[in-house]
């Protein structure tokens, strides 16, 4: 424990800015993964344990595209589109078979694919750590805000994630498709009786969730190292986020992700060895006081 460092940081603007930005990028990446998770749970009522694998695939797709084309924008696009396609195939071919059955069966199918996906990545890209490297467009001097160092890439990352959050929020509440998706979450039988193909909606939501995780992976590729199994810790953290925010709530995912991001970045100063423990402790406190999460609907 190093409480002096934590207290010292709170009185230094430079340190505050640095820690807050690093907390924000952790939070924003987590948000992109967690919002897909929460969306899939909200509509399909499935806890998608393979979500971390989509994050991993997004990162690897982006790295490979960048290596071949040298275009950062194309890399992001391929990361997102590739995982969207993967998501729709996975949902239609495998997950749709276990909707009616036990929660445990769904978990088992996901667990099987976590193992398979990790090994597929190991086969294609090898078991060693890989890195994509910072795209040349962002290899510029960092910005200094109140003495704190902020790499420009971080701003892009936060901007993209925020844009995704806004598009998603507006799309779900203001458009016709959003209305249909919310209706399907509420009562799929009725939606289907009204002549809407719910299978298509399910596939679409899964693809969207996969795409957001893939985008997060692609955005993270320049700043994190790539390895098979990299999705694991992200999966666990985004679970914490969705549970804290409330399963099925997009606003909850955003707030939860930011809280976890800040806990991680400031916690690493004050409790360098117990940062993870802090997150779990926070999760326990939230779950015990509000079992459905901060923004979740109370379950009867």
């Amino acid at each position: 424990m190093d409480l002096d460092a934590l207290a010292g940081c709170f009185v230094s603007p430079a340190c505050l800015v640095t820690q807050t930005t690093s907390g924000l990028i952790i939070g924003m990446l987590l948000f992109l993964v967690a919002v897909g998770l929460t969306l899939i749970f909200g509509v399909l009522k499935v806890v998608n344990f393979t979500h971390g694998a989509f994050y991993m695939f997004g990162a690897y797709f982006a790295m490979t595209t960048y290596q071949f084309t040298g275009s950062f924008a194309l890399a992001m696009l391929c990361g997102a589109a590739g995982t969207a396609i993967l998501g729709i195939i996975f949902e239609r071919v495998f997950m749709s078979r276990v909707y009616g059955s036990d929660v445990l069966m769904q978990l088992l199918v996901c667990y099987a694919f976590v193992l398979i996906f990790d090994d597929v990545v190991r086969m294609i890209w090898g078991p060693e750590f890989r890195s994509m490297g910072m795209p040349t467009a962002f290899q510029v001097a960092p910005l200094f805000i109140a003495g704190g160092v902020v790499p420009p890439y971080y701003l892009l990352l936060i901007g993209v994630a925020l844009a995704a959050a806004i598009v998603l929020g507006v799309g779900l509440t203001r458009t016709r498709i959003g209305k249909v998706v919310r209706a399907a979450a509420h009562n799929p039988g009725m939606v289907s009786a009204l002549g809407i193909n719910t299978g298509l909606i399910y596939g679409g939501v899964f693809a969207l969730g996969g795409m957001l995780a893939g985008l997060a992976g692609a955005l993270a590729a320049p700043v994190r190292s790539l390895t098979p199994g990299m999705g694991f810790s992200v999966l666990i953290e985004s679970f914490i986020v969705t549970v804290i925010g409330g399963m099925g709530s997009i606003l909850g995912a955003l707030i939860g992700a930011l809280l976890i991001g800040l806990i991680r970045s400031f916690g690493s100063l004050g409790f360098p060895l117990f940062t993870e423990g802090l997150m779990y402790l926070f999760m326990v406190i939230v779950l015990v006081s509000r079992p459905a999460g901060l923004f979740g609907k109370e379950v009867a």
Partner: protein, 343 residues
């Protein structure tokens, strides 16, 4: 106690399901247990293979853990993602007590169980209020909290290196646990005794109360069962058996590692249950043997262990849609022309 309170209700529920049993039936489980133990105990005399004995010891550790998880998942309908914390607690608790105090083995054994009971009661009283997926998540959170604590409290637990330096094993009652055969016999005995005890719990009126809570918790509450207390009781009991499994594992590897308290152990336990099937008492043991065999063969044959294991899991989840023992039981029931019931 809950058992006494629950008895009339459970008996009423049980009535239509009673099968015709022979006079021996009260002792049937004990007889089976004795026979199995006799066979296991004779094994070292028949075969000198160390690998075989090792395999049985590992089965004992994981089997106790998985069967205790089935008490929660299969019998009570409480899907715990954090059951592995008690496995880890058993391994670390036993290892630490033996290293630090040098107590006699049985005393350390009892002390570890007592510690686990206290921890399980505290954690359980918080967790069992929550339902279904929230129960799963909060148990997972506690598991990870304990894992983080083990990692960060390195002066006490050895951190990510694990508890090293071996576990001292003073001889007690003529049993020397550093002797491989002695360790094997003790592990087998613990397995058989543990299974027998869990079988007794599952078949007792209390066990039938648990099945009722699983099937309809509200009805159970209406007829006067204290659901919270029954759930907490089985949570603590299951933790004790998981802890025993952890102690066997600690003795086997002569140490304790953070992975023992990591959530993958809980995942493995759930997976074993699904593999073997949750509707029969012995399903988890069958699952344990299957998984360990699969583990050993696949890792020898290929480095892409995940793909093979994943495909096997898919076969069970999408192909059979149930565990192996569930499948066998239903198949046998169909052959006899009757419907297989959930026991």
């Amino acid at each position: 106690m809950t058992e006494v309170q629950a008895e009339p209700a459970a008996e009423a529920l049980r009535a239509p399901r009673v099968e015709t049993k022979s006079l021996l039936s009260p002792y049937r489980d004990v007889l089976i247990a004795l026979t199995v133990f006799a066979i296991l105990a004779a094994l070292p005399a028949l075969s000198s293979s160390k690998a075989l004995l090792d395999f049985v010891i590992r089965c004992a550790a994981m089997g106790l853990f998985a069967t205790s998880l089935n008490l929660l998942v299969g019998y009570t309908g409480m899907i715990s993602f954090g059951h592995g914390m008690f496995f880890g607690l058993g391994a670390y608790g036993f290892g630490l007590i033996m290293q630090r105090t040098g107590m006699p083995v049985p005393l350390a054994f009892a002390a570890t169980l007592a510690t686990t009971a206290v921890v399980a009661t505290i954690i359980g009283s918080i967790c069992v209020r929550l339902k279904e997926i929230y129960f799963a998540f909060v148990t997972l959170a506690f598991q990870m909290l304990i894992h983080s604590t083990i990692l960060s409290w390195s002066s006490f637990t050895g951190g990510d290196q694990g508890l090293r330096g071996g576990i001292p094993r003073p001889v007690f009652l003529g049993i020397d646990l550093s002797n491989h055969v002695h360790l094997y016999i003790v592990s087998s005995a613990l397995l058989v005794i543990g299974l027998l005890a869990m079988r007794q719990i599952a078949q007792s009126p209390f066990g039938y109360t648990l099945r009722m809570i699983r099937d309809n918790a509200m009805r159970a509450r209406f007829i006067g069962i204290d659901v919270w207390r029954a759930k907490l009781t089985i949570f603590v009991l299951a933790a004790l058996f998981a802890c025993t499994g952890g102690m066997v594992m600690a003795l086997f590897v002569s140490g304790a590692y953070p992975e023992f308290a990591y959530w993958t152990i809980s995942g493995e336990g759930i997976f074993i249950n699904m593999l073997g099937g949750v509707t029969t008492f012995l399903g988890p043991i069958v699952g344990t043997v299957l998984l360990l065999l699969l583990n050993d063969t696949v890792t020898r044959l290929t480095e892409y262990y995940g793909i093979v294991l994943g495909i096997v899991i898919l076969f069970f989840a999408i192909g059979l849609k149930k565990g192996l023992m569930d499948f066998v039981v239903e198949w046998v029931a169909q052959r006899r022309g009757g419907a297989g019931g959930r026991g």
